[in-house]
């Protein structure tokens, strides 16, 4: 009843692998998030966006999962961004230091535009 399921959805948009995280990012989310990351990475994704849904529940176990992803993103030379975080979780991402490794955008569209600019420069 209380072990809320997270729905993970993978889309590709303008050269960016968009991973929608619909639901709560807690310890129960680990396998789904890691699998989604591996799936897009195996297909050669360079730009990855984690698209959250406002007001969901992200706890310290969820933060640890995301730090694990950032570790791999750095090793694999990919770029990671996040969108759709509520102001509270944007603040927590900054406090923890995740924001230094995953650029925060308010919306998916803003993140995609930023990736597009990056792609043109590189």
């Amino acid at each position: 009843m209380l072990e809320d399921e997270l729905t993970v959805n993978i889309r590709h948009r303008d050269g960016v692998a968009v991973i929608d995280l619909i639901g709560d990012v807690t310890t129960f989310a680990e396998e789904k998030i890691n699998n989604a990351y591996r799936q897009v990475t195996d297909k050669g994704a360079r730009y990855i966006l984690f698209n959250f849904r406002q007001n969901d529940y992200i706890n310290s176990a969820g933060i640890a999962i995301l730090i694990g992803i950032v570790t791999e993103v750095n090793q694999n030379g990919q770029r990671l961004a996040v969108s759709g975080l509520s102001p509270h979780f944007q603040k927590i991402f900054r406090m923890v230091g995740l924001a230094q490794y995953a650029e925060i955008y308010q919306t998916e569209d803003e993140a995609i535009s930023a990736f597009k600019r990056l792609n043109t420069i590189n």
């Binding site: 072990e3 706890n59 310290s60 176990a61 640890a64 927590i92 230091g97």
Partner: protein
């Protein structure tokens, strides 16, 4: 609640099974109370995170996820503050040194275990935080959030 008597307080007590997910009950209850007390949405979000971390720690560590063991959450409502105490049954005692850690993400990149942010978040988000352990009971964390009211301009 009587506004005239500052000592007036109301106490709500919850006993939760040590199963992950039940922290949401404590989070929702505290958030609902905090909203009625007049806390800002920002403070309520902070409160939700802090209580979620405290109860999760009690479930996973203090009670070693034994569902038969209880986590006791006591919410004390005062006119100017909300006090939240979270206690487990102390199957595992929390090392006091653990309650003062300052985790760094660059260290986490090097470690297999990327966790250890919970207690630090509680300290960052709450106005007062105190950890204690009482033999025969368990680990306890007491957290306080002050209700900030617009300043009263005195003549």
């Amino acid at each position: 609640m009587s506004e005239a008597d500052g000592a007036t307080e109301q106490i709500i007590e919850m006993r939760l099974p040590s199963r992950l997910g039940y922290e949401r009950i404590a989070m929702d209850t505290a958030a609902s109370l905090a909203r009625r007390m007049g806390f800002t949405p920002e403070r309520i979000d902070a409160l939700r995170t802090a209580i979620g971390e405290a109860v999760t720690n009690a479930i996973e560590h203090g009670n070693q996820a034994d569902a038969a063991m209880k986590v006791v959450v006591v919410l004390t409502i005062r006119t100017d503050e909300l006090i939240i105490s979270v206690a487990d049954q102390g199957r595992k005692v929390l090392d006091p040194a653990q309650t003062f850690l300052q985790p760094r993400i660059t260290d986490a990149f090097q470690r297999a275990d990327k966790g250890g942010w919970g207690i630090w978040l509680i300290r960052e988000l709450m106005d007062e935080v105190e950890f204690s352990f009482a033999p025969g009971s368990g680990n306890q964390v007491r957290m306080v959030v002050h209700l900030e009211r617009p300043p009263v301009i005195k003549p």
